[in-house]
Point group: C2
Chain length 327, copies 2
């Protein structure tokens, strides 16, 4: 019988974002033991960022009083289109990456198997497998942050489609001719309900003379505005911010109504920074609107919930990916 | 060895519509031998309609020089929400049906196993299994008729979701605040690109003084206008009709862009009366627009095609259903 203290029975999950890299060490039961965080510094290019990912993984493992020899595999959620089979990042706009062989390079640096998947997919996997214990058969994950990420669990498994790019729900058009989106089109869900969309509406209104608690606290340029500031503004009675957030919640509800009509999942789970900070202000409006827009009979028994994983969704899902893929 | 002429090796596929019932007899290779058609007469209520379905099935079987003893099972595509397990039609607005035990009643009348599924799902199944020989792994079917039906084949199998109501793609909102839809919401795909939507736009414009070839041919009330009349109008140089049809094609392209972003299928297939008549005028615009709206990298290798099954899509898919379910 092998000495259990020498088994490769841990997984590292990495959440690669445009500003920060998070790594978490998970035991065989997918319990998180330790986390580490480093700045991404995308300006250093793919090689520089991959070195920083390796450093973040080593730090998290060391903080767990373990060595890399105790790690079976590393999973990574990357912010863009990923070729799952090869672990290449085809395109990641926030990192300015094109065709980066992330898996290959990181395997070289760590000497461990590495698995790469889109970050929205990874978050959905984390929520599904760990938070919801694998119970929902069909789940749509929606993550409202700087952009809008998504992930689909269909028939109990991650669904990635033909080119591996399924669940780009942020670029579902729900208002033809609506506000311009980063993707070049207009009226995408992301251009109506992401943090960037909310912030843009607030900044535009302030420029047009709108008064808000946010200007009192952050100055007229609203520098360093965060989702949490919106929550504080609403708590301080700022009706303008409340109305902007409510509008984003309505658009989110319409997007969910669409997804329920298209996929009829049993579970819709929301996460991401906007939801982590504003769930109390948004969830009731989101659910009510989704119900209005879902066809008669389709909504019965469907749960719409806010994830409790918060910032851990990405590392958790990446650990699940590492576990599933290395089996 | 059984006498082959006595085997139960045929299937009947039924397409139950709001105005007509079609039945087709198919051999074990799913080749259609004969078709029959009767008026639906929904005003006679569920019992009256179910009797007419039974009559239509008997006629088609008799016209094939067969008897019901040679039929293994009957499949039906019904225009509404269906509880697949029990074969109940939960809600079918065009028939004014609520909770009709279609399977049970028809089995009583025919003495054969009956399987019921939503008509859009059935059409997608027919196109996938017969026209495309089961090849696409992930297919989205879009059927533009009086309304907009849909069907999803995911991982090679019909996907119906939690309540069996998936693929209600006609009620995906793509223009918040847009034209009113029969479902009560505004800006649904169906309210922008179905035959009803196209006809409404034409009638509204004529009321406002728009001149069109259609009025010359059909009179000022445009009574009995059909999809084929639109084709004739365009062939006769009617720029107004051409522009209305092009606009419906653009909305269809946007809807397909959304579905590609969400599901990343390998195949999108269009059908229904509008496409059967107007494919030449619509398909190029549909494909170009879908490409514009699909995210970079998601569109690669995806085929968008018009089904050649025409009016046979429903009966064919219903026969496939009967075959698959009775195995």
């Amino acid at each position: 019988m092998p000495d259990p203290s020498k088994e490769r029975d841990h997984f590292v999950g990495v959440d690669l974002g445009g500003t920060k890299i998070l790594a978490g060490v998970f035991d065989r039961k997918l319990k998180c033991l330790e986390r580490a965080k480093v700045a991404t510094k995308p300006e250093r290019g793919p090689d520089g960022v991959i070195e920083r990912i390796a450093r973040c993984v080593r730090e998290a493992v060391d903080d767990s009083d373990l060595t890399l020899e105790r790690v079976k595999a590393v999973g990574i959620g990357a912010p863009g289109a990923v070729k799952h089979e090869t672990g290449e990042v085809i395109f990641a706009p926030n990192l300015d990456w094109h065709d980066v062989p992330l898996r290959k390079e990181l395997e070289k640096q760590l000497g461990l198997p590495v698995y790469v998947e889109n970050d929205g997919n990874v978050c959905a996997l984390g929520v599904h497998e760990v938070e919801l214990e694998g119970k929902p058969r069909n789940l749509v994950g929606i993550f409202l942050g700087t952009g809008v990420g998504g992930g689909l669990i269909l028939n109990g498994r991650l669904f990635t489609g033909f080119n591996g790019t399924a669940a780009e729900i942020g670029h579902m058009v729900i208002e033809v001719g609506g506000p311009k989106c980063g993707c070049g089109n207009k009226g995408c869900f992301e251009a109506l309900a992401s943090r960037s969309a909310i912030f843009r509406r607030i900044r535009d209104a302030v420029r047009d003379g709108q008064k808000t608690w946010l200007v009192e606290k952050l100055g007229p340029d609203l520098t360093d505005m965060r989702s949490g500031d919106l929550r504080k503004a609403i708590r301080n009675g700022d009706k303008f911010v409340e109305q902007v957030v409510e509008s984003a919640a309505e658009y989110t509800g319409i997007a969910i109504g669409n997804l329920i009509n298209i996929l009829n999942p049993d579970t819709v789970v929301l996460g991401g920074g906007v939801i982590d900070q504003l769930a109390d202000d948004m969830m009731a409006v989101i659910t009510e609107t989704a119900k209005d827009y879902a066809m008669d009979g389709t909504f019965k028994g469907i749960q719409i919930i806010a994830s409790k994983l918060g910032d851990d969704a990405g590392i958790t899902g990446a650990a699940v990916l590492a576990n599933q893929e290395s089996k």
